[in-house]
């Protein structure tokens, strides 16, 4: 198979691979945490799942919402709303020949902010811990979007 000298020589792209894989894996862990709380707190969304905690009519009472489960689900949705845009814009940004050091600090800041965001959401830590970490991640993505559009607007 052909080598990709362009991509595999590109340090920024290689760094983007590592950071984005880490932060997307973190996001995927939210599914496991949701399942964990659904099972330990017996709070299911589907009748066929509730049968894990009770038989027949007894299972119906486990079709309920639970504060802990809903909190993890909100954190997961917030990850989708923020980490996926980071991936999309960060991918294009890392392919647009940015300054290596600037790019890597964008990635580092984003990953650190989102890991802290999850901790702040799930603990929960008092505000403004979660709010600030959300804002940092958001700012990083907008900063990359701005740099993309500033230099190369093709409409």
């Amino acid at each position: 198979m052909a080598e990709f000298p362009q991509l595999s020589d590109n340090q920024t792209f290689l760094a983007f691979i590592s950071y984005s894989t880490i932060v997307i894996s973190k996001m995927m862990l939210m599914s496991i945490i949701t399942s964990f709380f659904r099972i330990t707190r017996k709070a299911y969304a589907n009748p066929e799942d509730a049968l894990a905690s009770g038989k027949g009519e007894n299972a119906k009472k486990f079709l309920r919402t639970d504060d802990r489960v809903e909190r993890v689900r909100r954190a997961h949705l917030n990850d989708l709303e923020n980490i996926i845009p980071f991936f999309c814009i960060g991918l294009l940004y890392s392919l647009s020949n940015p300054d290596f050091s600037t790019a890597v600090w964008h990635f580092r800041l984003f990953v650190a902010a989102r890991i802290f965001h999850s901790i702040a959401y799930l603990t929960p830590l008092p505000q403004p811990n979660r709010g600030l970490s959300w804002m940092i991640g958001y700012g990083v993505t907008f900063s990359m979007a701005y740099r993309l559009l500033k230099n190369k607007l093709y409409l």
Copy 2:
């Protein structure tokens, strides 16, 4: 660092960068609008956030849903369900040597349809404004998916 003659010479890819960055930034604005309505209408999902509008026991009454907030959240989720698939399929499409003019009109139509969709959702405008703009965006993404699979199906 190495240049990317392949990507930076590719007009379609450059146009994709601009249009997708614009439409993803638009999607991210939904987070700001949600926060704005949560604060102005005092309707929070987390107890630690409700403290922004009231102290102690008083804060609990702000743990509630609000029509306006829920509407923005539905619009945001609809964006995730439509703009992210556009990004994924559009990225692959723009790398597959499509006709430049065809590709750019796909991107333009999608971005215009999704901006109008947000306006129609948040105003709200009467149907079928929102329905039609949703359908146009959906059709654009499927059209790109069809073109990808028609020419190059490798299974």
Copy 3:
């Protein structure tokens, strides 16, 4: 326009294009299924949509949730939580010169598992059908993430 010998010669990337386009199109079908059940079961989220099934005050009673609609929406959200990370990590993985056969079997397994997951969710089939198919898709994505980070960790 310049050719992309690197990308269009890369069998793994071509296979990724086909499999990911198929599985993202499948995800997008969930929107159509949701609309179908909202209309046939007269259960809407927005007042302006409810007017499709009744006029004036009469429309308000159709602003309600329905088990069938909520089930499709949960399946759709689960797709977003799993198929988008597959796309992101799979894209980077397919650009990192993996073994062709290993890569294609990752893609095949993922697409099959997610199609079965949708069938199991919407029918619904008894557990552990849905649980196992979810786990296979999840495992495939983590396997690709692990391979990416094992060889090329640039932090």
